[in-house]
C-alpha cells in the first residue's frame, strides 16, 4: 500500500499521520526517498559478484552489452535471479531446520518444554520417511523422523521424501529436466557456486537449477516447517479471532511477537496465561496481558491458538506508533531495522531473540530450546515491568475491537470440513469445481509493499476472484490484509461471493477465503492441490488443475522462491511487480514462454488488481476448458473488469 493510500486508511492513516507529525520516519517516507529506484537493479542488469566490476549492461543497447568478464544480460539477470531464489529458499529451509532440531531435542529429552502434540500426524509423516511405526513409542518415532529430516539437509544424492507426494507427472518432469532436488543444503550451495564469476553462464542451465532450488523450498524446507510445526504444536483448526491494530488494549500489558519461527512465540502464548505473570501484571496496574502478533509469527499463533493479529509487515512500525506496546519481541525475517528508533520515541521495549538476527539498538535476550519457557516468561515479565512506564497520554490505539475472522484451515481439515468424521473427502470441493459452482481455486499470498500504487490490492483482487466464484486460499501478510477487509468471515460469502461459490460456502459453513497460515504454510497449498488431483476429475497432475496463484505486493526474496516453486510445480503465478528480468530479452522469453514448455507452469506480472483477477480467471477458465468441465452454473455474475 502506497504512501498516498495509507493516509486514507481509517485504521492506519491516523497512526501514519501521527508519525509524520512527530517527525518519525516510517517505511513510506523511506520508500519515497528511494525513488526513482535504480533502473539497472530493477531490470536485473547490474552485477557485483566479483571485483572485475561492479558492472552494468546498458538496456538501451548504446553502452556495454556485457560485463568485464564477458557475462551478458542473460547471464547476469539469470545469476541474480538464482541468487534471489537461493536466499529465499535458505530462509524457509533454515526455519524448517530449527523446527526439526527442536523435534529431535524433544525426542532426546534435551528440552522439556515441547512435546509431540499431534501423534497421528507424526506417524503419517514418519511412514512417508519409511520409519517403522508399529510397536514403537512416539519418542522413538520422533527421534528417527527428526534424524532423517535433518539428514535430508545434508543429503547428496537421491530425492527428497516429501516431494514424493507430488503427482507422478510432475515427478517425471522434474526427473527428466534435472529439476528434482537431491538435498536441501546442497542445492543452495550449488546455486551460490554456479553464480560465481566464471562458472555457469548459460541462463537456461542457471534457471533450471534455480527451479531445483525453489522446489527444495516448497517441497523441502517449507513443507518440513509446516509438517513438523503441526506435529509439535498441533494442526490448526478454524477458530474465531481478530485482526488489525485495534486489538491492542489500553488497559492491558501489550506484547507483540514479530517474525517467523513459532518456537519462542508458542512459549510466549503459554507464558501470558501463567497465573503468576497475570498476577504480576495486575500488581503493576494492568487488567491483564494482551498478546498479539505481527507478520508470520502472528499467523502461526493465530491459526493454532487464536491470538489476534495486530498487523502485517507494513504495520510493524505503526504498531509501535500506538504508544501502547509495552514490548515487542522479534526473531527473524521481515523485521525492519528501523524499529528501535521508533520504539525509542515511546516507552516500548524491543527485544531481539535469535542469534542469527541481531539489530543495533535492540536489547538481546537469546532464545534457546533448552530453556524455552523460562526465557519466554522472562521476556513477558520484562513487558509487564515496562507497563507502568507507559505514558497513557501518548497512547493512540485505533477504535474498535478489531475485525473478526475465521482462520485455521489446513489440507487435512478440508477432509473433515467436507465429510465429517466418517466420510472425510475432497469430493464436494472437486465436484463443485466440476459442476461449475466453483470456477477454481486461487492462492493469494505474499508480502505487502509501499511501492504498490493500488490502495489495497490484496482485498481488491480477492473480492474480484470470489465474485467470480473462485475459492481463495491465503497465507502470510496477504491473509492479514484480507482479514482486515472482512473477507475471512463466513458472512463474506453472502456479501462478496458469486452465487455458485456462495452456495458451496452456505452448504459447508466456511468463509469464501480460507486462511492457511504463515508463508511456510504455502506448502499447504501444494499438498491441498495434490489432494485435489488424488480425488480426481479436475486434472491428473498439478499443471492441469484449474488453479492459480498471486503475490500482488511481493517484496521478499522468499516470495521469489515461493513463486518459482509453484511455477516449477506446474501452476500459474502472478506477481504484482516484476522481478528483475526485463533487462534480458532471452530471460524475459524464458520466464513467460520457455518455462511453460518445461513445467507447464507460467509467470505473469500485472500491477492492477482487477487485471490480475482477469489473468487468473482466464487461466482457470482455460484449464476448465482443457478438462472439458461443465460451464459455470451461474455465469451471469458481473464479469471481470477489462
Amino acid at each position: 500500500m502506497s504512501q498516498a493510500n495509507i493516509k486514507k486508511d481509517a485504521i492506519q492513516g491516523p497512526l501514519y499521520e501521527r508519525a509524520k507529525a512527530q517527525g518519525i520516519e516510517t517505511i513510506w517516507e523511506r520508500a519515497v526517498s528511494q525513488e526513482p529506484h535504480c533502473g539497472f537493479g530493477t531490470l536485473g542488469l547490474c552485477c557485483k559478484n566479483c571485483n572485475l566490476g561492479p558492472c552494468r549492461i546498458d538496456p538501451f543497447g548504446e553502452g556495454p552489452t556485457c560485463g568485464v568478464c564477458g557475462a551478458d544480460a542473460d547471464t547476469i539477470s539469470a545469476r541474480n535471479l538464482v541468487r534471489h531464489i537461493a536466499a529465499g529458499t535458505s530462509c524457509h529451509s533454515d526455519h524448517g531446520r530449527e523446527i526439526a532440531k527442536t523435534l529431535q531435542m524433544v525426542a532426546t529429552g534435551e528440552t522439556k518444554f515441547y512435546k509431540v502434540t499431534d501423534e497421528e500426524k507424526l506417524k503419517t509423516v514418519a511412514s512417508e520417511y519409511k520409519i517403522k511405526i508399529e510397536n514403537r513409542t512416539i519418542t522413538d518415532i520422533a527421534k528417527d523422523l527428526a534424524e532423517k529430516i535433518l539428514a535430508e539437509y545434508g543429503q547428496q544424492e537421491g530425492e527428497l521424501k516429501l516431494i514424493q507426494r507430488a503427482p507422478e507427472k510432475q515427478k517425471q518432469i522434474w526427473r527428466k529436466f534435472f529439476l528434482m532436488p537431491r538435498g536441501i543444503d546442497r542445492e543452495v550451495v550449488e546455486a551460490m557456486s554456479r553464480t560465481n564469476i566464471g562458472v555457469d553462464n548459460d541462463y537456461k542451465n542457471l534457471m533450471a537449477h534455480g527451479m531445483r532450488v525453489a522446489l527444495t523450498d516448497g517441497w523441502g524446507g517449507s513443507m518440513i516447517a509446516t509438517e513438523l510445526t503441526d506435529i509439535l504444536f498441533g494442526k490448526p483448526s478454524p477458530k474465531k479471532a481478530k485482526v488489525n491494530l485495534a486489538v491492542l488494549k489500553e488497559d492491558e500489558v501489550n506484547i507483540i511477537v514479530h517474525g517467523h519461527v513459532p518456537l519462542l512465540s508458542e512459549m510466549v502464548c503459554d507464558a501470558v496465561s501463567s497465573p503468576e505473570l497475570i498476577a504480576l501484571a495486575k500488581e503493576k496496574g494492568a487488567v491483564g496481558i494482551n498478546l498479539a502478533g505481527i507478520c508470520c509469527t502472528a499467523n502461526e499463533i493465530l491459526v493454532r491458538r487464536g491470538f489476534p493479529v495486530a498487523g502485517d509487515f507494513l504495520q510493524q512500525e505503526l504498531a509501535l506508533m500506538t504508544g501502547a506496546v509495552d514490548l515487542m519481541l522479534v526473531d527473524l525475517q521481515c523485521i525492519m531495522p528501523s524499529l528501535p528508533d521508533i520504539a525509542g520515541c515511546f516507552h516500548t521495549k524491543i527485544v531481539s531473540t535469535s542469534s542469527k538476527a541481531r539489530f543495533p539498538g535492540m536489547e538481546h535476550v537469546e532464545f534457546n530450546e533448552e530453556l524455552a519457557l523460562p526465557i519466554a516468561k522472562k521476556i513477558v515479565q520484562m513487558a509487564i515491568e515496562n507497563f507502568p512506564k507507559r505514558d497513557q497520554s501518548k497512547v493512540c490505539i485505533p477504535k474498535g475491537q478489531g475485525q473478526d475472522l475465521i482462520p485455521g484451515f489446513t489440507t487435512e481439515y478440508v477432509f473433515d470440513m467436507l465429510g465429517g468424521k466418517y466420510r472425510p473427502s475432497y469430493k464436494p470441493l472437486n465436484e463443485a469445481i466440476i459442476n461449475g459452482r466453483i470456477r477454481g481455486v486461487a492462492g493469494v499470498v505474499g508480502c505487502d509493499n509501499p511501492k504498490m500504487a493500488s490502495s489495497d490490492s490484496h482485498a481488491i483482487l480477492v473480492k474480484e476472484l470470489i465474485k467470480n466464484d473462485v475459492l481463495v486460499v491465503q497465507t502470510g501478510c496477504s491473509a492479514a490484509a484480507c482479514g482486515r477487509a472482512g473477507l475471512l468471515t463466513p458472512e463474506a460469502a453472502f456479501e462478496f461471493a458469486g452465487k455458485g461459490l456462495r452456495e458451496v460456502c452456505e452448504a459447508v459453513g466456511c468463509p469464501p477465503v480460507l486462511h492457511l497460515g504463515s508463508c511456510v504454510d504455502n506448502s499447504r497449498i501444494l499438498t491441498a492441490c495434490c489432494e485435489m488431483v488424488k480425488e480426481g476429475g479436475i486434472g491428473k497432475s498439478l499443471d492441469e488443475l484449474p488453479v492459480a496463484g498471486a503475490a500482488p505486493e511481493w517484496m521478499s526474496e522468499k516470495a521469489i522462491a515461493i513463486g518459482w516453486y509453484f511455477v516449477a510445480s506446474g501452476l500459474l503465478v502472478l506477481f504484482g511487480m516484476p522481478f528483475p528480468v526485463y533487462g534480458s530479452d532471452n530471460m524475459t522469453k524464458y520466464v513467460f514462454e520457455d518455462v511453460a514448455k518445461i513445467t507447464g507452469g507460467k509467470w505473469a506480472f500485472e500491477s492492477d488488481p482487477l487485471k490480475m483477477a482477469k489473468v487468473m480467471i482466464e487461466h482457470i477458465d482455460s484449464k476448465r476448458k482443457a478438462l472439458n468441465l461443465k460451464p459455470m452454473i451461474y455465469d451471469n455474475n458481473t464479469g471481470v473488469a477489462a
Partner: protein, 727 residues
C-alpha cells in the same frame, strides 16, 4: 447444509440422543443389563451400529457403548454470527441421530411396542436377500422413503402410484401435522406390502431408521465390506443403493436430523415445503436437499436428484404397467375372466420365423373377446397365445428364453395376473382392469412392446395371434407339444463337457464388486435366474454386457472343475482377489457368492455330508445356524470352503459338488425345498444307483440338530456315512 438446516439437524440429534439415553436408563432399570436385545430375523444385531462400528449389541448393557460413542459425535449448534464450518459436524450429528433412533426402536421391540399397527416394522435380512437380484437388473431401480403425509389422500395415492409405475420400492411412514401417509393410503384402500412395492414402516420419525438400517446392511451383505469399515459402508450406500427421502409436510428438528443422517449415507431428501436447499454435490451424488411444490413433478424430481435410471415402458394399454404390479393377485371376488389353470384350455408359445412371415406390431384376435363372457358362474374361456418373432440375430435357442418372459411381461399390467408357462399357464383379468377397457389385444400389445424393449438386440419384429375358439386352441396345442419336448431335450442334453465356452455373470458387481458368477450348462447362476442359455442369449443381446463368453481352455483339474482360462478370467474380474475357483467343489476353492443365492449348501462335519437350506426357510438347521446367519458368512465375493451359495436347480445337477461325491453327500434339506425338487431328485436317485436315496434325505420334520441327523442317517443307511472323509 445451510446454517438453518445444520442448526435444526444438530438440535434434533441432541434431542434424539437424549430420548435414547432416557429410554435406555429406564430399560436398564426395569429389565437389567443382561436382557437380550435384538431386532427380529437379522444376523446384524443393531444393523447400523454394527455396519458402521462393528458394535455387536446382544444385551441391553451393550448399548451403553454405542451411546457414549454417539455422544462424542454431537457437535455444538452453529453460532448466529461468525460461525465455524458446520457441514462435517452436521453429517456427524446425522449419524448420531440415526444411531439413537436405532437404539430407540430396538428398545421398543424389547417392550413389544413394535411393529406399529399395520406396519412392517424392522425389515428382515431375508427381505433384503430376496430383493437382491431385482436391485441390480433394473426391475427395481431405486427406493423411496416417504416421511410425513401428503396434503390430501388423493395426492398421497397419486405419488405412490407414480412411484409404483416406475418400480420404485417405496417405504411409507412418519407423520406431519398428526397425519401419516400410511393412513392416507389405507383410507384409499391402496394395497400395501412387499409384493406391491409399498411398505409401511411406522408412524413416527424414529421409525424412519428401518429403511436406513436396511439399506446399510447391503454394504456388508453384498458389498464385501466388513463391519466397522465406516467410510466404505457410507460410500457403498451412496454409490450403490439408489434411495432417497421424500418429506411431505413441514419438517421439524427430528426430521432434519434424520435427513442429515440420510444425507451422510448419500441419500438426498426432497421436500414439498419451503426449506433451504442444499445444492452442491459430493456428499450426495447430486443435490442433497431440494424443494418441489408441484406434486405432478415431485416424483420425477426425486428420481432426477437421486440419479435413478428408470426404464418407463409406455405401453398402449388402459391400465398402469410396471414390474411393481408383478406380485399382485387377482382374487375371485374381483375376477372378470380367467384362462388356463383348472378353468379352461390355454397355452402360450413363442417361435422364431423368417422376417417375411412376421408383420411387426400386428395383433390378431381369432375368436371372441372377453366381453362375450357373461355367465357369472363360469368366468373363463380358452386362450392360445402365439408370438412370432423374427430378428437377424434370433436363434432357436432363444425361443424358450423369450417365451419364459411372457410370464413377467403379462404380470406387469395392473389387474392382470399370470402364473405358469407353456400349456400350464393361468391368466386372470380383474374387473377393475376390464372396466378400464382392458381387452385381449392388450396382451399382444404388451408382448410386442416388452419384447422390443428388453430384447431389441435380437428381436426385430413381433406379431401376436390370440386364439379363443376351443377347437383352434386344442389343434394348435397338439402341434406344438412336440416342440416343447424338443426344447426340453436340447437343454437336458447339454452338459459342461458338450460346450467349450462358459458364461460369466457380472450383474451383481454393481453391489458385490469382487464377485463373479461362472455359469455352465450344468450349474446355473446362484440366483437361480440365469442359466447357461440365458447367459448366451444375454451376450447376444448385449455383447458388452454382464454376461461374457469365457472359453474354458486347458483343463487344470477336471474333477474339481478348474480350467486355466476360467481362472484367469475370474482373477481379473474379481479385482484380483480370487485366483482359482472349482466349479464342482464345496471344499476346494469353491465359487464365491454375491448374496442373492437361492440356497446355501453347508458341510455338516458330523454327517460327513452336506445340507441345503433355501432362503425362504426361517427355521434352525443342523449346522446350528439359520439361513440368515449362514448367509452373512457366504456373501460379498469371498471364498468360504464348506459353504456354497447355489441356485436350487443345481442340487439336481450331475455336477452338484461332484468333486466331493455329489448328491450322495446330501443329508438334509427343508421339506418345502425337497418337495419342489422331488421329481428331479427322484430321477437323480435312480441315476446314482440308489432308488431310495430321496427318502434318505432328512428334513426339519425329522431333525434340526446334527446329533439327531446322524442317528437318522445311520438308521436309513445314508451313503454319506460310508464315503471318504469330507474334512
Amino acid at each position: 447444509m445451510s446454517k438453518f438446516v445444520a442448526t435444526s439437524a444438530i438440535r434434533g440429534a441432541h434431542s434424539l440422543v437424549s430420548e435414547a439415553e432416557k429410554f435406555l436408563d429406564k430399560a436398564l432399570k426395569e429389565k437389567g443389563a443382561k436382557a437380550i436385545i435384538s431386532f427380529p430375523e437379522t444376523a446384524f444385531y443393531l444393523p447400523l451400529a454394527y455396519a458402521l462400528f462393528a458394535f455387536e449389541v446382544k444385551e441391553l448393557g451393550d448399548i451403553s457403548r454405542i451411546l457414549s460413542h454417539i455422544k462424542s459425535l454431537l457437535p455444538k449448534v452453529p453460532d448466529e454470527k461468525l460461525w465455524l464450518p458446520y457441514l462435517g459436524s452436521t453429517l456427524d450429528a446425522g449419524i448420531a441421530a440415526l444411531l439413537a433412533e436405532e437404539i430407540i426402536m430396538a428398545l421398543r421391540y424389547l417392550y413389544n411396542q413394535e411393529p406399529q399397527t399395520d406396519c412392517n416394522g424392522f425389515f428382515s435380512d431375508t427381505v433384503m436377500r430376496s430383493l437382491g437380484i431385482q436391485l441390480v437388473d433394473g426391475r427395481m431401480p431405486g427406493f423411496a422413503a416417504i416421511l410425513g403425509a401428503a396434503p390430501d389422500n388423493k395426492t398421497a395415492v397419486s405419488i405412490v402410484r407414480e412411484l409404483q409405475e416406475r418400480n420404485i420400492l417405496t417405504f411409507v411412514g412418519c407423520s406431519s401435522n398428526g397425519r401419516s401417509i400410511i393412513d392416507q393410503l389405507r383410507e384409499e384402500n391402496v394395497e400395501m406390502g412387499w409384493d406391491t412395492y409399498i411398505v409401511p414402516y411406522g408412524r413416527d420419525t424414529q421409525s424412519a431408521i428401518y429403511p436406513l438400517n436396511w439399506a446399510v446392511r447391503s454394504a456388508i451383505t453384498f458389498g464385501g465390506i466388513k463391519a466397522g469399515q465406516t467410510k466404505e459402508c457410507l460410500l457403498y450406500t451412496k454409490n450403490r443403493v439408489f434411495a432417497f427421502g421424500l418429506a411431505l409436510g413441514p419438517l421439524d428438528d427430528l426430521k432434519y436430523a434424520t435427513g442429515a443422517g440420510a444425507i451422510a449415507m448419500g441419500f438426498p431428501v426432497i421436500a414439498d415445503t419451503d426449506i433451504p436447499e442444499i445444492k452442491p454435490s459430493g456428499v450426495t451424488t447430486y443435490e442433497a436437499l431440494v424443494k418441489e411444490f408441484d406434486y405432478k413433478r415431485i416424483v420425477s424430481r426425486c428420481l432426477e436428484v437421486r440419479g435413478v435410471k428408470v426404464k418407463i415402458s409406455k405401453i398402449p394399454i388402459p391400465v398402469p404397467y410396471a414390474a411393481a404390479f408383478e406380485g399382485e393377485r387377482v382374487r375371485k371376488e374381483n375376477l372378470a375372466v380367467e384362462f388356463g389353470g383348472k378353468a379352461s384350455t390355454a397355452f402360450e408359445f413363442l417361435e422364431s420365423k423368417d422376417a417375411s412371415e412376421v408383420e411387426d406390431g400386428k395383433v390378431t384376435l381369432i375368436g371372441e373377446d372377453i366381453d362375450s363372457v357373461k355367465d357369472a358362474s363360469k368366468l373363463s374361456m380358452p386362450l392360445g397365445i402365439v408370438a412370432k418373432v423374427s430378428g437377424r440375430k434370433m436363434q432357436k435357442d432363444f425361443e424358450p428364453i423369450l417365451e419364459r418372459q411372457i410370464h413377467r411381461f403379462v404380470n406387469g399390467a395392473m389387474g392382470v395376473m399370470h402364473i405358469g408357462q407353456r400349456d400350464m399357464n393361468w391368466i386372470r383379468i380383474s374387473k377393475d382392469a376390464f372396466n378400464k377397457g382392458f381387452r385381449l389385444k392388450h396382451l399382444g400389445l404388451i408382448l410386442h412392446a416388452m419384447l422390443h424393449q428388453e430384447y431389441n438386440a435380437i428381436v426385430d419384429k413381433v406379431e401376436v395371434n390370440l386364439y379363443t375358439k376351443q377347437q383352434d386352441v386344442e389343434k394348435i396345442l397338439s402341434g406344438i407339444k412336440k416342440t416343447f419336448d424338443e426344447r426340453d431335450d436340447r437343454i437336458r442334453g447339454m452338459t459342461d463337457e458338450s460346450v467349450d465356452t462358459f458364461y460369466s455373470c457380472l450383474l451383481c458387481q454393481s453391489f458385490a464388486p469382487n464377485h463373479v458368477c461362472m455359469i455352465t450348462p450344468e450349474r446355473l447362476g446362484l440366483c437361480g435366474a440365469y442359466s447357461w442359455l440365458d447367459g448366451k442369449a444375454s451376450y447376444e443381446i448385449t455383447p458388452t454386457g454382464p454376461n461374457q463368453p469365457v472359453p474354458k481352455g486347458e483343463a487344470q483339474d477336471i474333477k474339481l472343475g478348474q480350467w486355466k482360462n476360467i481362472n484367469k478370467f475370474l482373477y481379473e474380474k474379481s479385482n484380483k482377489t480370487i485366483s482359482s475357483v472349482s466349479m464342482y467343489s464345496i471344499m476346494n476353492n469353491p465359487q464365491t457368492s454375491c448374496g442373492c443365492f437361492e440356497c446355501i449348501v453347508a458341510v455338516i462335519p458330523e454327517a460327513n455330508g452336506v445340507m441345503v437350506v433355501n432362503r425362504d426357510f426361517t427355521g434352525m438347521t443342523p449346522v446350528g445356524m439359520t439361513f440368515t446367519t449362514l448367509a452373512s458368512s457366504v456373501g460379498g465375493g469371498m471364498q468360504t470352503p464348506g459353504f456354497l451359495g447355489v441356485g436350487k436347480l443345481y442340487i439336481a445337477s450331475k455336477k452338484f459338488i461332484s468333486a466331493e461325491g455329489g448328491l450322495k453327500r446330501l443329508a438334509w434339506m427343508p421339506k418345502e425345498l425337497k418337495e419342489v425338487l422331488a421329481d428331479k431328485l427322484k430321477a437323480r436317485s435312480q441315476e446314482i444307483g440308489d432308488p431310495n436315496f430321496f427318502e434318505k434325505i432328512a428334513d426339519e420334520t425329522i431333525c434340526t440338530t446334527a446329533e439327531d441327523l446322524v442317528q437318522f442317517l445311520q438308521k436309513v443307511k445314508h451313503p454319506a456315512l460310508e464315503m471318504p472323509a469330507l474334512l
